[in-house]
């Protein structure tokens, strides 16, 4: 997701006066690329009807973004905050698709407004800071003037180059609305699947049991031997129904996950795979139950995919929780070429993780290895098997 909360970074020392002046000098030089970028963009925009314009715009945008991102870094350092690039991720597709995405990104237009500031008043401020130092006589003014001048410029830069709190919230709400809709869709689909499994499997088998028992009832008088055989059949059918039910339960919430938590359950899962799976790392506590379950099924899906498609000799799972982020890496040494978008299973995993602000990244070059990284922000509760509040109705 592109609009997660800025991650607090290690506070570096605020830049000194000389460094500030260095920034200012660089900002002065940006006049050239910024003017070129602006002109390209405007001319391109005017010429867009005759296609050449598209090329101009496509060339201008990366140029502008490089400089704007550099300025975000400077402003961030001066103000002691982290200002990550706020652009939308580029979509897959040809130049026209890219262009449409760039033009739809509000930050593209804010960049242009920022250029107007950066080549006029902003530029003058930076120039002033540099000149105050270079003209040695004004050293006194430089000593006291450079920090507030640069701070002022950086405030304006930040205002123009980043989304304000209202906009951030709006975007957050939009993202949440989307992921909520997907989560609801996903759980509705899961319920339909469960209904099908129960209806086609367990229920059908119980009907068979009941029919066999009915038949046996009839047979007892006439042919006790046949009745005995029918009862034996009925018993076999019950076993099959129990086995079905077991697999349905596993699909809802594997008991071992409740017993042993995420790392125990993943270790148990690894033992069930046909190919050796090494599990490294462990968690100091347990993530919230819904996250635990989502991550477990994500790992299960990854390992199942590897088993199905990758032709691997070995797979591995790494578990870690650091800085409020649960990170699980699933890798295999197979032939690679996996596409996260291709399988409905993987899309389901992504949607399910997105409901918790989680992400899934797949790296799978041809020839392998395939590495899937799952990340979910969460807090671990102290390690202990989570007691259930209500006793289960099923016998242990």
């Amino acid at each position: 997701m592109s609009d997660t909360q800025p991650v607090p970074t290690q506070e570096p020392a605020p830049p000194g006066r000389l460094q500030l002046t260095g920034y200012a000098a660089e900002q002065v030089l940006w006049l050239v690329p910024l003017v070129i970028g602006l002109v390209l963009f405007v001319v391109g925009g005017l010429l867009v009807v005759v296609w050449v314009g598209v090329v101009f715009v496509v060339a201008a945008v990366p140029l502008i973004r490089v400089v704007a991102n550099r300025q975000r870094q400077f402003a961030g350092r001066v103000l002691g905050v982290d200002l990550p690039p706020p652009y939308r991720p580029a979509p897959e597709g040809g130049p026209l698709v890219q262009l449409r995405s760039v033009l739809a990104d509000p930050m593209t237009w804010r960049d242009l407004v920022w250029i107007l500031w950066a080549i006029t008043v902003g530029w003058v401020i930076s120039l002033l800071v540099v000149v105050l130092l270079l003209a040695v006589a004004t050293g006194f003014f430089w000593w006291f003037g450079a920090p507030p001048l640069m701070a002022m410029r950086s405030q304006v830069d930040r205002l123009l180059l980043t989304y304000g709190s209202t906009e951030t919230l709006e975007r957050r709400v939009a993202a949440l609305t989307r992921s909520r809709a997907e989560a609801v869709d996903h759980s509705a689909a899961e319920l339909r699947r469960l209904e099908r499994d129960l209806h086609d499997g367990t229920q059908a088998r119980l009907v068979a049991v009941s029919m066999s028992l009915g038949m046996a009832e009839e047979q007892f008088e006439r042919d006790p031997e046949a009745a005995r055989r029918t009862v034996t059949e009925a018993r076999a059918a019950t076993s099959a129904a129990i086995a079905d039910l077991r697999s349905v339960v596993r699909g809802i919430h594997p008991p071992v996950l409740a017993d042993r938590g995420l790392d125990g359950a993943i270790r148990a899962l690894a033992l069930d795979m046909a190919v050796p799976v090494e599990v490294v790392g462990d968690l100091s506590g347990r993530p919230p139950a819904p996250i635990e379950s989502a991550v477990y099924f994500a790992v299960a899906e990854c390992l199942a995919n590897a088993a199905k498609h990758s032709g691997h000799q070995q797979a591995w799972v790494e578990l870690a929780h650091r800085d409020g982020l649960l990170r699980v890496v699933v890798g295999d040494d197979g032939r690679g070429g996996a596409d996260a978008e291709a399988g409905t299973g993987m899309r389901g995993v992504m949607r399910r993780l997105a409901a918790f602000d989680g992400t899934m990244a797949v790296s799978s070059p041809d020839g392998g290895p395939t590495i899937v990284t799952l990340e979910v922000p969460c807090v671990l509760s102290p390690a202990s098997s989570s007691p259930r509040t209500t006793p289960s109705s099923e016998p242990g």
């Binding site: 076993s239 077991r246 008991p255 017993d259 042993r260 069930d272 190919v275 006793p391 289960s392 242990g396």
Partner: protein, 217 residues
């Protein structure tokens, strides 16, 4: 061992507990202690008057794996104490933990296997005699896994025999399942022992050793 082995039975579902008690009592066992939660279970297992235990994995107070933990704990205190663990589902992980808790005298079965009364009772006896009884589902998962040395040296037939040994079957019943004579089974088993480099020892111990090798412990 006394003629009528005395057992601890731990199962929180009253219906199943009553059924199991009846079944065991009718098959030559004495159910000396019946418990329905993990707290009482720990005390019951330390009773010197009992010879073995049949335990449910999931029980109050937390409804997770206290039965399994109790089994492992008691085997740490009373090495070789026979324990048969019953569960609604089987996990390789738990099978390994049980097997690692001491050599032999351990069983791990799905609860629905109880419906085959003769086999179940046979399983309880084998565990009390120091054997290993694993659920066919555990064995099947191990079978599906890619083999490595030294199990690679076994012939497919020998692997079948080993799998049935892991389920706790006697030579006679292995012979019956594979449609071969008991003598042929004994020959296969000797060959397995030789290929797995198991030292000449008591038959029961070697059987257990072979099963452990099979599970790659």
């Amino acid at each position: 061992m006394r003629p009528e082995p005395r057992l601890v039975l731990a199962e929180d579902n009253a219906l199943l507990r009553a059924g199991l008690t009846q079944l065991l009592a009718g098959s030559g066992f004495v159910v000396a202690r019946e418990v329905d939660n993990a707290v009482e279970l720990d005390a019951a297992l330390l009773d010197p008057e009992v010879d073995g235990a049949v335990l449910d994995v999931r029980m109050p107070p937390t409804f997770t794996d206290e039965g399994l933990r109790a089994a492992i704990a008691v085997r740490a205190q009373r090495p070789g104490f026979p324990v048969l663990v019953l569960s609604q589902y089987v996990e390789q992980l738990y099978a390994r933990e049980l097997l690692a808790s001491g050599e032999g005298a351990v069983g791990y079965l799905l609860k629905d296997r109880v419906s085959d009364v003769r086999q179940f009772v046979d399983g309880v006896r084998r565990v009390l005699d120091g054997g290993t009884v694993l659920d066919p589902e555990v064995v099947a998962t191990v079978m599906a896994r890619r083999r490595d040395e030294p199990l690679e040296r076994l012939t497919p037939r020998e692997r079948e025999v080993l799998a049935l040994m892991a389920e706790g079957k006697s030579n006679a019943s292995i012979g019956a399942s594979l449609h071969v004579t008991e003598k042929a089974v004994a020959k296969h088993i000797n060959s397995i022992f030789a290929k797995l480099d198991l030292p000449v020892d008591l038959e029961v111990n070697r059987r257990v050793q072979a099963v452990l090798a099979y599970l790659r412990l």
